[in-house]
Symmetry: C2
């Protein structure tokens, strides 16, 4: 396996170093050559142009460049990849629908499979690159009904065999909706919280009384607001819907608090508003149970004595049909299964990691 | 100074131990005597009844019992305190309006001053009691226009001289509104987030993609939901208003995201929706700046070299008028000043800790 890396920042540089550490041949290009000397010493073959990268005939080229550089890089890659049709193109962007639109606009849709590693930290650049960034990471691979199965396999092998990570297979829309749910929308909520405090006439008093709950819930609002805004706007339709859902949930609790104080309960009966409030606080119980189980398994991994099967991730083999592998693997992801090995031509080994 | 403590759990036990460590005479009562042997060895004089506690003639009695025990304890204290009118009564409850209502219902309003220490952790009970729980803590003292100045002074001396902590002076309503802002309302928001995930058809996929931002924003939703519900219902009117504000903020962003995608900007002009979105992400900047300054000062306290005055808390003397000391000290709290010493009959020394 030979992998081509475009962009040697935190994500691309860490990926290149991890692949080399695991015995995979890596050829890399960066828009500026400053990481090249150190990268060469680490065993990464650095090349001066994208043409030279394609000439090295990697199985997969991974686009790890900034999103804003994407259109220009795709234009440059188009004639090169037309002359090298065996190379599969993937990327590591965090909003998949937008990247696919750009790839298709460049005429490269046929050779493209989307990918998004759940890896990163607050650092950036080659100097921060570290192969451990990918320890125990999950990647999403995104496909369409038209995605070529062999190109999917090339990217899956890169992740599972090359990087040693887990994979779930999604379509772009499912990925972007899920990212809106657990990241993009919550970033807006955190920002609204600090705006609400800033607008409060007694903001110094409230800030003085703030403790751990406030600190945790607003931490992401302290990061670069322009980057957050760009992220939200790239996934706008999904974030919009979730914000309206959240607003409706908050108004519903406000209505219940109002009714509890003002509406008399029928004598002898449980106040229906109290019952509804209890339901609000119970609705998320599956997530509390899921987190408790994840913590128990993580504690066992940290060297706790308990070796009962209850505290291990269940593994199983999942077959998929050649004619609708995309849908079968999406169903597997919906069940909370993560692919940990390509076990046969139409079989994957999965670990049940999330099961809410 | 002699202090009486009612209830020797985490908060009361830690307070008793800290006061003894700092040379203050402490007499304590607990509804069950199990902590008494260890407490006596720590220098805390334990008594078998509330009558014996009052007979010890403490300057201040601090109610550290659970809220649900409050009515019965107040009924028992009423005749005892009627016979000992010099004793001032205070408490450590986290919702001040409700405690004052209970105290006044018991006929003890005249001798009462409210208090709320910003101290605590996830533990409970005497075995978890630790004097360091109060290290660098801030207390709110809550007063009314009728509060006797000398009773306020007794509680302020207990906190500043006895415990060695900072104080801000508030009215009950300002306290409970601020607590709703930075704790009670955000707990509902965190709960709504996990409910939204639980209701998501792709919840296993979303949970698999979750990273640090999601974990931090939902941590408080994992704590006991019944305790959270009780806390929210005790401060219902304030939480209701803030939830409606937050819902309006989230709907406003949803509207902007919709308009950015669908409304054409006048040619040559900046899209007004884009400008409004930028304002949303800029509104909370004073809080970001405040947090950056707090972090810089904390880093200096941790032994960093920078000793410039920019990185110290400014101190000053604040005078207040004897006839409206409540309003003058509330204004000081609004400016972000924390009382660190009683500097004269009508003067306090303050530190500028929060200044958003």
């Amino acid at each position: 396996m030979t992998i081509g890396i475009v962009g040697m920042g935190l994500i691309g540089g860490s990926l290149a170093r991890r692949l080399v550490d695991r015995g995979v041949k890596v050829v890399a290009w960066n828009h500026r050559p400053h990481p090249y000397a150190e990268a060469e010493r680490a065993g990464i073959h650095c090349v001066p142009t994208l043409a030279a990268l394609v000439e090295a005939r990697p199985d997969v080229i991974v686009l790890c460049n900034p999103l804003k550089a994407m259109p220009a890089i795709l234009v440059e890659l188009k004639p090169l990849l037309d002359a090298a049709p065996d190379i599969t193109l993937t990327d590591v962007g965090s909003v998949k629908g937008m990247v696919r639109d750009q790839v298709e606009e460049a005429g490269l849709g046929e050779c493209y499979v989307g990918a998004h590693p759940m890896a990163g930290n607050e650092l950036s650049g080659w100097t921060a690159a570290n192969p451990t960034l990918y320890d125990d990471a999950l990647w999403a691979i995104t496909v369409t009904p038209d995605t070529d199965f062999n190109r999917f396999l090339a990217v899956a092998r890169l992740i599972v065999d090359g990087v040693g990570n887990r994979v779930i297979v999604l379509d772009d829309d499912t990925h972007d909706k899920a990212a809106a749910m657990i990241s993009h929308m919550p970033h807006v909520v955190a920002t609204a919280l600090i705006n609400e405090l800033t607008a409060n006439p007694n903001r110094n008093i409230a800030a003085a009384l703030a403790a751990g709950s406030w600190r945790d819930m607003t931490r992401v609002a302290l990061t670069d607001p322009d980057r957050t805004r760009a992220m939200v706007e790239e996934d706008a339709a999904n974030v919009e819907g979730l914000l309206r859902d959240m607003a409706a949930r908050l108004n519903a609790v406000a209505d219940l608090l109002h009714a509890e104080r003002t509406a008399a309960a029928p004598s002898g009966a449980v106040d229906p508003h109290v019952a509804a409030m209890r339901r609000f606080f119970a609705e998320g119980q599956p997530f509390r149970d899921y987190k408790a189980r994840q913590r128990a398994i993580a504690a066992r991994g940290d060297g706790a004595d308990d070796t009962s099967d209850d505290l291990a991730y269940e593994e199983r083999l999942v077959d998929f049909a050649p004619e609708h592998w995309q849908a079968d693997l999406l169903d597997s992801a919906r069940r909370g299964e993560h692919i940990i090995a390509l076990a046969g031509p139409h079989t994957v080994r999965v670990q049940l990691r999330s099961a809410l």
